[in-house]
């Protein structure tokens, strides 16, 4: 089916090793330039390379990311908004030999589903978590979210997060540093070709660590754009300027890189 896959017309896409065979090839419903498609490809690519297509179970939460259910050809269960960590808990406890993957947006994982995610990390549940962190509630049209950084225009706080009213964004990777139940944590960015190549390695590494039998949550926070719905206060972006905005502004607040790495996977001389 992968041969029928066509990238959206007029949009330059970053290909990492061709179209992964695990992709269904069904046309996606994400906006042009959105990073969800890139992240879905990276996940599908890792599943391909590690031969996990038949043992992966995908648990998308609710948000734009839910569409991944039609993009990646693996068994999947759609979870209610914020409940993917909980459903993945029951699933992975019952099917410990499967690779259970939570796929959430930042609102799903760090807003409505934060309690479930943190408890899953505290218990050291054994599944993977990918968060597409675009700093807004994209599906509902660009409202401020728990991870919105001050400069991101939103429809509810038009000149960006008002820190006197709404405080500060949640850095989920830093928050979860406190939990020994997290086996692997990292943040990547999809803002440029170079960064996507780095992201591909980290996504695959998360799967590899899981496959090697290291128990615990493997979580990757993925900075991506929402070029269509970063529109508060009349601001407008193109995919290109949105990605530049991630590099110039959002990455000031959110550090990219690995944070928790199991000992056997660390480079010599690194903690």
């Amino acid at each position: 089916m992968s041969s029928t896959y066509q990238p959206p017309v007029g949009i330059e896409t970053t290909r990492v090793g061709g179209t992964p065979g695990t992709m269904t090839g069904i046309g996606n419903t994400w906006c042009p330039g959105c990073g969800h498609g890139t992240l879905a490809s990276l996940i599908a690519d890792a599943i391909d390379q590690l031969g996990l297509q038949d043992r992966t179970i995908l648990c998308p939460g609710v948000g734009c990311g839910t569409s991944i259910i039609s993009q990646i050809d693996v068994n999947a269960v759609m979870c209610p908004h914020g409940r993917a960590s909980d459903a993945a808990t029951g699933l992975s406890r019952m099917l410990p030999d499967r690779t259970v993957v939570q796929y959430s947006g930042d609102g799903d994982a760090c807003g409505i589903g934060l309690a479930g995610l943190m408890h899953a990390c505290a218990r050291g549940e054994n599944f993977l978590v990918f968060i597409y962190n675009n700093n807004v509630y994209g599906m509902t049209g660009g409202q401020m979210g728990p991870t919105t950084t001050p400069e991101v225009p939103t429809t509810t706080f038009q000149s960006g997060r008002d820190e006197t009213v709404m405080g500060h964004p949640i850095d989920i990777i830093k928050t979860l540093e406190a939990y020994p139940g997290v086996a692997y944590s990292a943040r990547v960015s999809l803002a440029s070709g170079v960064l996507v190549t780095k992201a591909a390695k980290i996504v695959k590494k998360a799967f590899q660590i899981h496959l090697d039998g290291i128990r615990g949550i493997k979580i990757v926070d993925v900075l991506g754009n929402c070029n269509v719905n970063w529109k508060g206060g009349g601001v407008s972006f193109t995919p290109q300027t949105a990605n530049e905005f991630i590099e110039s502004t959002i990455m000031k607040y959110f550090d990219v890189g690995e944070v928790r790495v199991p000992e056997a996977y660390r480079k010599p001389g690194k903690k």
Binding site: D54, V74, N75, R83, T89, G90, A115
Partner: protein, 422 residues
């Protein structure tokens, strides 16, 4: 009898909450997640030991919402899974239950209900969650609700609930109140009918075949969402045809029928016996399945009796079902109170009242809490005056001792040394 090597403690004194756990282990439940809340804790403690001993997994999660969703996750893995909670926890679980109903995922919910609206601190037993259990979440779904009335029946219906859930791919509720949850009775031998259960072809445990398996409760197209809702209604029609359960007692010549379920059915049975001894032709109708409700059966009865008396530990949560079933064929009266079982004497009194052609006197605050006045005496001022004011406002200024005597069936002048008068 068991679906595994577990042997239920037949012939031994068993608590109602434990009986629910016994049913779960007998049904080969693989996963139980919960969050402690009175009076569900005895069940939680029971399954925390019994389930792992028989190959299951027990987890205590962050809240009821996480619990029901983890149970959903275990269920989509094709395993039998259960959770249990009480009113305030049910509020949180409604999301998971509605989602499981819409996604057609089988799981079992034990509802051990207590009194009050919102956060309840009194912990008194009541049947106050039946209305929300019938479908408190969004959309046109129903949950099958089984309402056992004895410890043995709790165990049996819990096993059957797992079968029903698998058969109709739906969450199923076993609802008991706090009295039954903490009631200790001998566990009698019981049989569970063997049903032909469909293979779980939808389960994510199955290998990925062409196109894989996707379990969803919503589709990208509104037409498919509409289609699912029609499919659900068809399922509820099939349930109404084949899964209605009830018991009718002393009905042959009955003129006045009490409709009650759970612990109130046992109270009502005693009241019906007493009323019959006094010449009132009373009968008892006990719905065992509150959904699907025995509508046709009760409708037929409504056509041949003088009046129906519904009695519940709430303000009428199956009353609308009974009224719809009766459909104007006979008057439907109601006797309820917000907490604790209504004493048999009060049900008997209500039966005699309607038999004499008068209307049922409502149960007042004083009827429910006759001892509140005793407790008042030990309060220091100014709390005592303040509480007296509140009680007077809520319950009127009657002589509380008379109410206590009536409720407990004590004849005047037979109090011991501890007897008090206000």
């Amino acid at each position: 009898m068991s679906r595994n090597d577990f042997r239920p403690p037949i012939g031994r004194p068993t608590m109602g909450a434990h009986a629910m756990g016994i049913g779960a282990v007998m049904a080969d439940c693989s996963y139980f997640a919960g969050y402690p809340i009175t009076p569900q804790t005895e069940l939680l403690e029971y399954v925390s030991q019994a389930l792992p001993e028989h190959g299951g997994v027990f987890q205590q999660l962050g809240d009821e919402l996480s619990s029901v969703m983890a149970v959903f996750g275990a269920a989509v893995a094709g395993r039998r899974a259960m959770t249990a909670t009480v009113g305030p926890g049910l509020n949180l679980m409604v999301e998971g239950l509605a989602n499981a109903a819409g996604a057609e995922v089988p799981l079992v919910l034990g509802a051990l209900t207590r009194a009050h609206v919102g956060v309840s601190a009194g912990l008194l037993p009541a049947q106050s969650d039946i209305r929300m259990l019938k479908g408190g979440g969004n959309g046109d779904y129903h949950l099958p609700i089984l309402a056992p009335a004895s410890v043995t029946e709790i165990a049996r219906l819990t096993v059957e609930a797992f079968d029903l859930a698998d058969l109709y791919t739906t969450p199923v509720v076993v609802a008991i109140d706090g009295v039954l949850a903490n009631l200790i009775e001998t566990l009698e031998p019981f049989e569970v009918p063997q049903r032909d259960l469909p293979a779980k072809t939808w389960s994510l445990e199955n290998p990925r075949t062409d196109g894989g398996r996707r379990l969803v409760s919503a589709y990208r197209t509104p037409e498919l969402d509409t289609l699912i809702t029609y499919k659900l209604q068809d399922k509820y029609r099939r349930m109404a045809e084949t899964e209605v359960r009830y018991e009718a007692e002393m009905m042959d010549d009955a003129e006045f029928v009490v409709v009650a379920y759970g612990i109130m059915a046992r109270v009502a049975r005693e009241a019906v016996r007493r009323a019959r001894a006094k010449g009132v032709r009373a009968g008892l109708f006990r719905p065992v399945s509150l959904f699907p409700f025995p509508e046709d059966e009760l409708g037929e009865i409504a056509g041949r009796v003088n009046e129906i008396l519904v009695t519940e530990i709430n303000f009428g949560q199956i009353l609308p079902d009974v009224r719809l079933a009766a459909n104007g064929r006979c008057p439907v009266r109601f006797l309820g109170q917000p907490a604790m079982p209504i004493p048999p004497a009060a049900v008997e009194h209500a039966l005699e009242t309607i038999a004499a052609g008068r209307s049922v006197e409502p149960r007042t605050f004083r009827d429910v809490h006759p001892t509140a006045w005793w407790q008042l005496e030990s309060l220091p001022e100014p709390q005592r005056s303040a509480m007296e004011g509140i009680f007077a406002m809520l319950g009127g200024g009657d002589d509380p001792q008379r109410w206590i005597d009536t409720l407990l069936g004590i004849r005047p002048g037979t109090h011991g040394a501890g007897g008090k008068t206000s």
